[in-house]
Amino acid sequence: MTVTLGSRSPRPHNPITNTLTTGQLPRFVEFYVLAGALVVMGGALLLIGFSWGGWIFLSIVLYLIALGALSTIAENRRKATDRIVRSLVSIAFLLAIAPLISTLFTVAAKGIGQLNWAFISQAGGAAFNPDTLAVTITSGALQAIVGTLIITGTAALMSIPIGILTAVYLVEYARPTEWMARSVTFLVDVMTGIPSIVAGLFAFSLFTLIVGPKAFSGFSAAVALSVLMIPIVVRSCEEMLRLVPHDLREASFALGVSRFSTIIKIVLPTAIAGIITGVMLAIARVIGETAPIFMAASFTDNFNANPFSGPMQTLPVLAYTGYKFPGQDIAASNASAWGAALLLVLIVVILNIIARIVARAFAPKGTR
C-alpha cells in the first residue's frame, strides 16, 4: 500500500488513498478466490479421482478458508468474518435454489414424454380380453384430472365463503379484545398447522360414522381439503381487508350507508384483487395434497365423476400409487405417475402465475 498523500506529482487516474480506503481487497475478490479454489481443487481431484459433488464441496471449503486467510492478512479479522458470512449466506441461498431447479427439471424431463393428448383425454385402467387372455393397460389420466377438479372445486366452494365471511367478521365486526375474535384468530393459526393426513383421517372418521365403513367418496376428500384450505383463505383475506384504508369506511358511514352495504360495496371491491390472489394460492396449496385425498377418497382406476359415492382418483394420488403400488407394467405405472406429477406442477404454476398477475394488476397503489 503506497502512501500517496505526500506525493508532489498529482496523479488524477489514481485516486488519493486514505486510511479509510487502504488495506482493502479488490472489489470482486470473492469471485477471484472462488475461481482459484475451483481450479486448484479440480486439479487436485483429477489426480486422486474426480467426482462432481466432492469437487464443488471441497472447492467451497477451500474458498472459505482462502478468503478468510486473505482477508485476515490484508484487512482484519472483523472484515474476514464479514466476508465469510456473506459467502455462507449466498451459498445457503444457492442451496435452496438448487432443489427447486432440480425438481422442476426432473419433473419436466420425466413427465414430458408422457404428456400427450391421449394421456389427458382418456381414462386409464386395465382391460381384460377373455379371448386372448391379454390384459391391455391404457395409460390415461382423465379420471384423475376430473377427480382433482371436482374435489378441489367442491372444497373451494365450501371454504371460500366460510373463509371470507370469517375474515369479514374478524376485521369488520369484532373488536380485537373480544374473546370470540381472539380465540378464532388463535384457532385459525392452530388450524394452519394441522397435518394434512390428520385432516384426511378426520374426514374418513366423520363419513364412517355417517355412511358406514365403505366411506370413501370425493365429497369426503373435499371436506378434508376444506379443513386445510379454510385457515389459508381466512388468513390471506384478513390481511387484505386490513389493508383497506379506514377513510373509505368512514366516508361511507358518513354518508349514512349501512355497514352491510359498506362491506359489500366498498370494502370487498377494494380488496378484491388481494382476495382473489389469496384464494388462488390457497387452491394451489391444496390441489397438490396427497395424503388427505388418499385417506378419504382412496384410489381407483375407474372413471368416477360422482363425488358422493365410491372412490375417486386424483392427480396427486395417481402420482403416488403409480410409484408405490404399480400395476403389472411397472414402467408404465411409473411413467403415468410422472405424467400426473407434471400435470400437477403445471396446474400449480399456472394458478400461481394467475395469482401474481391479478395481484400485480390490481395492487393498491403504495410504496414498496
Binding site: R78, A96, L187, P245, F260, G288, F294, T367
Partner: protein
C-alpha cells in the same frame, strides 16, 4: 379514536361524528359504542343477516377444530382401550405383535420426532441464511424476485418432492452416506450397515428439509425486514461491518420470531407424509441410525399412508389413534410457536420505538403494516396474533 392526537390519515379528522362510527370501535351491536355524538347507522335486515353469517362462519371454525379432535377420539378410543394380545383383529396385519397401543405408537412417535429433528438441523440454518440473504445481502432490486423463487418452493406439491427424492436425492446421497458410514461409523447415528439403495431416513430428512425451507425462511425474512432502520444505521455508523450490524441489531430483535418460525417449520415436518412414505424403507422401531437399510424409524404419517388401505376394522382405528397422537404433537408445537410470537414478538416488546416510523410509508404490504400501525391501535393489536 375520535380524540386521538396521533391520527395521521389525511381526512380521519373530518368530523367527530364519522370517526365515532369507525368500524373497529363500534360494532352495530357493540355494548360500549353508544356516545352522545354517535350517528345512527341505518340497520336493515340484510345487515343483521350478514352479521349472523359472518359470526356464524367464525363460530364454524371453532366447531370444525373441535370436530376434528372429537371424531378422531371417537374412532381411536376402541383401538386404544382394546387388548392387543387377545384381539383377533389387532393381532394380525400391520398391528400384529404389539402388547398394546402405546407399544405401537411409541416407536412411531420417536420416528416422527427423529426425522423432523434431522430435517430441522439441516434445514433451519440454511433457511435463516436465505432469509438474511434476501433481507440484507441481495441487491434490493432483485430481492423480491428471489423471495418469490423461495416461495415457489412452498408451492411445489409434496408428492412431487417425494418422487424427486426417489430418483435424485437417494442416489445423490449414496456416496456421502458410504463415506460417513466408513469413516465416522463409530458415531452411533452413522453406524450399522450402510444402505445400498439410499432409502434411508437421511434421504427422507433431506427432502423434508427442502420442504420446510420456504416456511422458516419466509417468516424469518418478514421479521428481519421489520428490524428498526435506525438501529441498523446506528450500528453501521459506529463502524460495524455488515455481519456485526446483523448480530447487534437484527438478530436480537428477531430472535423470538426466528424461534417460532423454526417451530412452525417443525410442525410442517412432523405432519409431512408422502415424501417419507415414498423414500424411506421403514421399520417400526426406535433407532438412532440414519444410514441403514432396515433400521429406519418409521413416522406416524407415513405409517398411516402405507397401511391405511390394507387395514380394516380395529387396525384402521389403531392407525387413526396414531393420527390422533400426531395431531396432539403438532398442535402442541404450533401452539408454542404462536404463543412465542404473541408474547415476545417484535410488536410486543418494541412498542415505544415504533412511533417514529411514518405510517404512510407502507400501507402496501402485510409485512409492513404489521409493524407500523401503532397509530391505529385496532390494526396492530390484531396483527400481534397474526404472524404467519
Amino acid at each position: 379514536m375520535s380524540t386521538n392526537k396521533t391520527v395521521s390519515r389525511p381526512n380521519a379528522g373530518l368530523s367527530a361524528n364519522t370517526t365515532t362510527a369507525a368500524p373497529h370501535t363500534t360494532g352495530s351491536r357493540s355494548p360500549q359504542g353508544a356516545g352522545p355524538a354517535r350517528v345512527k347507522i341505518t340497520s336493515r335486515p340484510a345487515d343483521r343477516v350478514f352479521f349472523g353469517l359472518s359470526i356464524g362462519s367464525a363460530g364454524l371454525i371453532i366447531v370444525i377444530l373441535a370436530a376434528v379432535a372429537l371424531f378422531l377420539i371417537i374412532q381411536a378410543v376402541p383401538a386404544i382401550t382394546a387388548n392387543w394380545r387377545t384381539n383377533a383383529n389387532l393381532s394380525q396385519g400391520p398391528t400384529s405383535g404389539y402388547a398394546d397401543f402405546w407399544a405401537y405408537v411409541g416407536p412411531l412417535m420417536w420416528g416422527t420426532l427423529w426425522a423432523s429433528a434431522i430435517a430441522l438441523v439441516i434445514g433451519a440454518p440454511i433457511a435463516i441464511g436465505i432469509a438474511l440473504f434476501i433481507s440484507h445481502y441481495a441487491p434490493r432490486r432483485v430481492a423480491g424476485v428471489l423471495g418469490y423463487l423461495i416461495d415457489l418452493l412452498a408451492a411445489v406439491p409434496s408428492i412431487v418432492f417425494g418422487l424427486w427424492g426417489i430418483i435424485v436425492i437417494r442416489p445423490l446421497l449414496l456416496p456421502l452416506s458410504a463415506w460417513l458410514n466408513h469413516n465416522l461409523g463409530w458415531i452411533p447415528i452413522f453406524g450399522g450397515t450402510a444402505s445400498t439403495t439410499g432409502s434411508t431416513i437421511l434421504a427422507g430428512a433431506v427432502v423434508l428439509a427442502v420442504m420446510i425451507l420456504p416456511i422458516i425462511s419466509s417468516i424469518s425474512r418478514e421479521i428481519f425486514l421489520q428490524t428498526p432502520r435506525l438501529n441498523e444505521e446506528a450500528a453501521l455508523a459506529l463502524g460495524a461491518t455488515k455481519w456485526e450490524m446483523i448480530t447487534l441489531a437484527v438478530l436480537p430483535y428477531a430472535r423470538s420470531g426466528v424461534v417460532s418460525a423454526t417451530l412452525l417449520g417443525l410442525g410442517r415436518a412432523l405432519g409431512e407424509t408422502m415424501a417419507i412414505a415414498l423414500i424411506i424403507s421403514p421399520s417400526i422401531q426406535v433407532s438412532w441410525r440414519i444410514l441403514t437399510e432396515g433400521e429406519n424409524s418409521q413416522t406416524i404419517a407415513a405409517n398411516i399412508a402405507l397401511n391405511f388401505q390394507v387395514a380394516d376394522g380395529l387396525q384402521r382405528q389403531a392407525l387413526i389413534g396414531t393420527g390422533l397422537m400426531l395431531f396432539v404433537i403438532s398442535l402442541g408445537v404450533n401452539m408454542i410457536a404462536r404463543v412465542i410470537v404473541v408474547r415476545t414478538g417484535p410488536q410486543a416488546t418494541r412498542k415505544p420505538k415504533r412511533k417514529r416510523v411514518e405510517p404512510a410509508a407502507s400501507a402496501a404490504t402485510p409485512a409492513s403494516t404489521a409493524g407500523v400501525g401503532r397509530v391505529d391501535v385496532s390494526i396492530s393489536d390484531h396483527h400481534e396474533g397474526a404472524q404467519s
